[in-house]
Subunit: 354 residues, 2 copies
């Protein structure tokens, strides 16, 4: 495959990241948003941490105490009959997730060459409100005018909604609350107004019926969103038949808006494909990948916190090459160059596409 993985991969590893406090360990530095700022490539990493436990018979779970603004550690006995620990990512009670075993924040990493990153010592966007008490995850950055807008997943006992923040310098960040109610994830803003309106790709997750699929919404001001339309859905049996959602922020090309998205099959193998959206009406699907342009193959993609995953939250178009940054195995960050022609080559213009 003409995907060229960087020889420096993984470009950020957990060992490169200092935990936010000494009694925590870093489980993953992955699913980063990407931006170009001055002469730097910025990664806004999702850093997942957990309290260090020294006892086999207990689990320490972290969450924000909104009243104090501090992260508190809840001790749970593994013998407690109320709880199930079958999935290492969370604690369940009566079949419902009631605590996460890790908590994520967002951290800036900087690079001059796009491959060698220096990770800052302290968090950039840390859980701040009750609706972020279980963590902030999977950011995307869109430069609009001279401001960088950051969408991210805000997790709490109330579900996963979409948080919005902005920055001009990647040093101070202004928060704009929850822009979409739970459950919604993988939301990314288009980099310019189209027909006078801002657009976002969204990924609502309905409960009673329906599936986690991709939608599009409009806004006059980036803060308030409406005219939600269904964009495209799961294709049973295909590479994106199990799960799907937006990946990188859409890139303008002469064929249309190119949005790289993730899809997983029934076996939870996460690959990257693309969808081409109409330049004038991005709610119209022009073409869609019948096969992924990238699949988990390298060791750091196949093995890690959750193996068999390539998951991009951001890419840069450099000439005719897509430089895609991506989380590998829910643990580290990697980068690959893919010729734009190869991405286009996976697209089918046949109907029905959704």
């Amino acid at each position: 495959m003409p995907v060229i993985r960087s020889e420096y991969n993984p470009v950020v590893k957990t060992a490169d990241v200092k935990p936010s406090r000494p009694d925590f360990k870093v489980l993953g530095a992955f699913n980063a948003a990407v931006a170009t700022y001055g002469d730097e490539t910025i990664l806004l990493l999702r850093v997942a941490e957990a309290p260090i436990s020294e006892r086999e018979d207990e689990l320490l779970t972290p969450k924000l105490n909104e009243a104090t603004g501090e992260v508190e550690v809840v001790r749970v006995s593994k013998d407690d009959p109320r709880y199930s620990f079958a999935d290492s990512r969370f604690v369940a009670e009566n079949g419902k997730m009631v605590m996460l075993t890790s908590m994520s924040h967002l951290r800036v990493a900087r690079s001059k060459d796009g491959y060698h990153f220096t990770v800052e010592d302290t968090p950039a966007v840390f859980p701040q409100t009750a609706l972020e008490a279980w963590g902030v995850e999977d950011p995307r950055i869109t430069l609009i005018g001279d401001k960088y807008y950051i969408t991210y997943s805000a997790a709490s006992v109330r579900g996963v909604g979409v948080g919005l923040a902005e920055t001009s310098d990647f040093r101070t960040f202004k928060r704009h609350g929850v822009m979409m109610a739970p459950e919604n994830k993988d939301v990314m803003l288009f980099p310019e107004k189209i027909g006078g309106r801002y657009y976002a790709l969204t990924r609502p997750v309905p409960h009673s019926f329906g599936a986690p699929e991709m939608w599009i919404a409009e806004s006059p001001d980036l803060l308030h969103w409406g005219n939600h339309r269904f964009l495209m859905g799961l294709r049973p049996g295909a590479w994106d038949g199990g799960r799907m959602g937006g990946g990188a922020v859409p890139i303008r090309t002469d064929r249309g808006w190119l949005a790289l998205y993730h899809g997983a099959d029934a076996k939870h193998r996460y690959c990257m494909g693309a969808v081409l959206l109409d330049l004038e009406d991005p709610g119209k699907v022009v073409a869609r990948s019948t096969r992924p342009f990238m699949e988990p193959e390298a060791d750091y993609e196949l093995n890690g916190f959750f193996g068999g995953v390539v998951f991009s939250c951001g890419a840069l178009l450099i000439g005719d090459t897509v430089r895609m940054y991506y989380g590998a195995a829910d643990e580290v960050m990697a980068v690959a160059d893919i010729p734009l022609a190869e991405v286009f080559d996976t697209l089918s213009y046949e109907k029905p596409l959704a």
Copy 2:
């Protein structure tokens, strides 16, 4: 209890409603929005219909064909091993709802005295788009300026989102698409701007974790919504410990915004209670009912399509009396007068409220 049910209850029955086509039967005329228009009381009924089946071994399920704009009837053999028919409201495949057994539209009924209604012969708001293909349900009407805004549930294979429409005369209706993505229901607009912004009560239903609980959102223009905040949640063991959601459009009182809401316990018994919200910041809960002010007790509330349900989508404040219109047993419409003092008497100002 000082709830005075009308002697004319139920004020609209299924027999009062002509089906939208001769091969359909009306299963319910319930969960109506209410408005005052000129000298009339208007009910905007949810009319649930199903194709008349003459064979025991098959089920006929209705849905909109978006291409033709016509409702089509899908024949399903009850012997088909792919499907489960355990719940009479839907057909399931692999544990997921794949068809509803009825389809709802909205219908106008008019009354001079508020008790005797004439139901129009034809639908007012009928499923029109792919996102409404399974029906439009549970409307609420808010008069803002000289326009009546209607929020309703838009159901389709993509989930249940929130549709928005407006009318000035209850004869022609203008549609505004989906204002909130799935899953969200029981959304109602406040009748005036507060601090320069419109507000809505919402009821997102998260999937991965979290529960169906009440939130509040803001808008500059009624079309686009943001700053979603959690308002109040389930109280395990209480009358509203199983399910909850907004009911009637909030009413301004001197103590605060009074919002009647529905709650159900673990046994799916739907009652009505109230929450009082701060007049200046309706995102602040001032007080909340520790007991319902109305419970299903009358025969038409205890027995019907789904028995044991009182569910209001609209109420009028007449002097010191709340005249509440409500769906009873998911089948008929009824009305009751409740002294405002009695509603207030159920409220507790103690913390924690959520």
